[in-house]
Symmetry: C2
Subunit: 280 residues, 2 copies
Amino acid sequence: MKIIRKIEQMQEYIRKHRRAGKTIGLVPTMGALHEGHLSLIRRAARENDLVVVSIFVNPIQFGPNEDFKKYPRPFAKDVKLAVKAGADIIFNPGAGEMYPPGYQTYVEPGELTAGLCGAFRPAHFRGVVTVVIKLFNSVLADRAYFGQKDYQQAQVIKQMVKDLNLQMQIVVCPIIREKDGLAMSSRNQYLSPEERRSATCLHEALRVAKAMVSSGIKDAGKIKREIRNIIQSNLLAKVDYIEIVDAGSLEPVKQIKGQAAIALAVFIGKTRLIDNMVWG
Amino acid sequence: MKIIRKIEQMQEYIRKHRRAGKTIGLVPTMGALHEGHLSLIRRAARENDLVVVSIFVNPIQFGPNEDFKKYPRPFAKDVKLAVKAGADIIFNPGAGEMYPPGYQTYVEPGELTAGLCGAFRPAHFRGVVTVVIKLFNSVLADRAYFGQKDYQQAQVIKQMVKDLNLQMQIVVCPIIREKDGLAMSSRNQYLSPEERRSATCLHEALRVAKAMVSSGIKDAGKIKREIRNIIQSNLLAKVDYIEIVDAGSLEPVKQIKGQAAIALAVFIGKTRLIDNMVWG
């Protein structure tokens, strides 16, 4: 295992291994690794000769009132977990290495960011795709692994890769959940015990929505009202958005047909959680 | 010689040659090749095993009232000239190949585009760096060649390469001029014989400016006034901008010290021409 903190050193290391014919898998993370991240690392280890896990809390994807400063950074623990799951290299650049003085180029995603989290977190996805292309160019992997929990993020990154003609395969892996259904997230650790119990309402609501769709209900408005009722019955929860969208274009649908995604963002106390479910 | 029109075919071709250890040089052009382009191709041929010349009139770098439609496209002649200068592959994608339906990701350059042509051509450089990163990802060259005539463009591209951590060397080559000093440009062919004679005023003004600096005059305002006088004495010429900037940051300077660039854009009739000179 090797920890690399400089971009040029990362590139040099990869060049050497690519010349030797090795395939490279990249798992970009902001650290605070949980079972969701580890599932990505394990899959990357199965599918590639060499696995790079990047750990970088990316300042430009946080809004001014968001949790950049308090975002958890348990680096030593992360390294242990990543290596145990199959990481060969930890890429851990500093903010000054990624955005040195004079930095000024950003990648702007498009229509896919108009709704869902994009509507509520302006500049968030610009920060995400910018750091992702920088990580891609630093690591030059064959495959990069992302979790489906950040559904919109995965779609936006796939579109960026297609639009900018990057020669990299994006692998999107299933959501990993706690036993009670809560989607794993580094932000879950912000929750008090009481909030933690309330946080299951996101998954509960999605399960009810799934049952409604399975029973033949196609009206998106009706399903969204039911989701809202379930979440609002919870005193600690405040809906940020509940949306049913076409799974490809992410445009809101009135009737569920073909591939659709139900996505929601909910504040539990001060912690914003997201979850989603995809049909078809 | 080979003409390739599909991005995936281009990538596959390059992958094969890279695996064989060949170095790749890219000369991105919009066609209508002149001696300036050919000097880039010749240099690329000296420095690389394989030279790709891309010919693509990029719609997204033209403003709504600019010359996208009438921009010259003498493709067969371009291919002959490029091959004679040393091109191995002509990469000639269509607009639908580069920007298919649903296309939505753009690269946004920053402060370097605030002045000079960037101030007069909004969205121009966004179109330039977006197409350039797409070409870079399609060709995966070791080196890409640009002319110094588009000085701001070269600086913006170098910054983008640095900011996004692209593993490619940007080579900027000297301006190639007609015998009477006019900087070579595909747009020169728009000029009537009378306009063509007037067009030498750009270079004339730059020569006078150079002489002033050499004689010890450092006041940028004084030099700019002299340039304006020379150009305005020409009935067919209309100044778009005259600027003296720091050669690195492109920020206007009041006194010439260190590396500085004088850049100008002038309409000769309806044709907009640019030229520049760099000191230090």
